[in-house]
């Protein structure tokens, strides 16, 4: 269980993130998870100085666009490029767009973090 997790819609994202930035809350990181036909995105924040963490979470369809937070937190440039590249999250208006090649080379697997059919079937059976 994650403490202080707030579930939002992607349309609320920038307004919620702006509140954190205005309060000088530090961005920690994000995580993306393949839910099948949707992606679950979680962003973690920390009230600095200290170790008080909170999180924002939204679920989007794989073809839906998500606004970039880089206009508010420049530091999110790496995680947003990573989620775009590895999960296919459609992030728009990135401050620096590595064009799908921040982590991956030209001949790397495409969207390697998405779950394969074999992986989904194995999880349903109880493990690989």
């Amino acid at each position: 269980m994650i403490d202080k997790l707030k579930e939002i819609s992607k349309d609320q994202l920038l307004a919620e993130v702006k509140k954190y930035a205005d309060a000088k809350v530090k961005f920690v990181t994000g995580s993306c998870n393949d839910l099948g036909d949707k992606l679950e995105v979680t962003y973690f924040f920390n009230v600095s100085p200290g170790m008080d963490m909170s999180a924002l979470r939204f679920v989007v369809g794989k073809n839906e666009e998500v606004p970039s937070m880089t206009g508010i937190y420049l530091t999110t440039v790496l995680i947003e490029n990573e989620m775009k590249e590895l999960f296919g999250l459609k992030v728009k208006d990135l401050a620096i767009d590595f064009g799908g090649h921040m982590m991956l080379a030209q001949d790397s697997p495409v969207l390697p973090m998405l779950k394969s059919e074999e992986q989904k079937a194995a999880a349903q059976k109880g493990g690989n």
Binding site: P49, M51, T75, M102, Q119, N128
Partner: protein
């Protein structure tokens, strides 16, 4: 306006132990813009962690980094233990703390040596690394390996430190402290060192927070934040207070790490003196439940963040690892513009970059 040129800095560069490329836009010798490019060491470890059964991921996570190897293993175990949740024995908590601080000691000695090397102080570089060998020997004696100390398991630790080893460790750590004091005095007082580091790569308190920095890099900008204040493992029983500097420059980052070196040694000696007898591990029952958890641990370079999601099987649904350098790289976008080309190496090194960690 002087003509602009774009100069690649890295991925292969004498000052970079690992590959990262900075595309520097220069006006004469002054940097006006920078674009960091990674991607030379991505290994897909998070994906592999979904495909392995959860106990095997310990070995995988220990290979995310060659310097913080043991702490990666410990943090992975910590986050998986939280899925049950599982309380590890008190002795295991102390042993994890001791090995984590041993890792910090050799990592900071490594970095101080690299810094000296970067500005051409070769004798200082060799002295720091000579001292570091003693700490690596302690790791070999206690954990069985100089680099990859595979000491953690889900539920505790796999090895113990006996009374003779404990006595030997304390003696060597006291020697290391004494020898390091002499070198650190040169580091913080030498004219040349100051000329190359004071006022270089300045980051204010507000900028460090806005850019999401962590570790000594963050604390050198005056932010009193350290994961160890959470009191995980044995830290809650030990005398610990984050070390902070206020200059926000490369010199302050060196000063914080120099201070943390003594602190790490003191923490190990205190942990040895307070470590209780008892079991080394508890056995987990069944598979990690369908739950999610986070773990935040202070590595030598700063906070490492693990997120795990279980699904009730032997495999994790998701494991996310955010390493300290991942959080500190964006600060280069602010620290480098305006500096001289000759200072780029020192400024980049001042965040103690670990690229293999960053890319996983």
């Amino acid at each position: 306006m002087a003509p602009r040129t774009i100069t690649p800095f890295g991925p292969q560069h004498p000052v970079l132990p690992e590959p990262i490329q900075l595309k520097l836009t220069l006006e004469d010798e002054r940097v006006v813009d920078v674009l960091p490019a990674i991607g030379y060491g991505h290994r897909g470890i998070e994906k592999a962690c979904e495909l392995n059964e959860y106990p095997k991921n310990i070995y995988l996570c220990e290979r995310i980094c060659g310097i913080c190897s043991a702490i990666h293993g410990m943090t992975y175990c910590d986050v998986v233990e939280k899925l049950w949740p599982l309380e590890i024995p008190p002795r295991a908590k102390y042993l994890r703390t001791i090995w984590a601080e041993m890792a910090r000691t050799h990592s900071h000695l490594l970095w101080l040596g690299l810094l000296a090397d970067a500005f051409g102080f070769e004798s200082m570089f060799m002295q720091y690394w000579r001292i570091r060998e003693k700490v690596l020997d302690l790791l070999e004696i206690t954990a069985g390996h100089r680099v990859t100390q595979s000491v953690s398991i889900v539920g505790g630790v796999r090895r113990d430190i006996d009374a003779d080893q404990k006595k030997h460790c304390i003696e060597v750590l006291k020697e290391v402290r004494k020898e390091t004091e002499a070198l650190n005095n040169v580091l913080v007082n030498d004219y040349t060192v100051k000329a190359r580091t004071v006022g270089k790569g300045v980051l204010s308190y507000d900028q460090a927070i806005a850019l999401g920095n962590c570790g000594p890099h963050l604390r050198a900008s005056g932010v009193k934040e350290d994961c160890r204040t959470q009191g995980y493992w044995a830290y809650g029983d030990l005398s610990f207070e984050p070390i902070v500097a206020t200059g926000g420059d490369a010199f302050s980052r060196a000063a914080v790490r120099a201070g943390e070196l003594y602190q790490a040694i003191d923490l190990q000696i205190e942990a040895f003196s307070k470590m209780p007898e008892g079991e080394l591990a508890v056995k987990p029952k069944g598979n990690p439940p369908a739950n999610e958890a986070t773990s935040r641990v202070e590595q030598p370079r700063g906070e490492v963040f693990y997120y795990a999601k279980g699904n009730g099987t032997r495999n994790l649904e998701r494991l996310r690892v955010r390493t300290p350098t991942y959080a500190n790289i964006p600060s280069l976008l602010v620290m480098l513009p305006g500096c001289e080309l000759a200072d780029v190496a020192i400024i980049v090194l001042s965040i103690d970059p670990c690229i293999s960690c960053t890319e996983r």
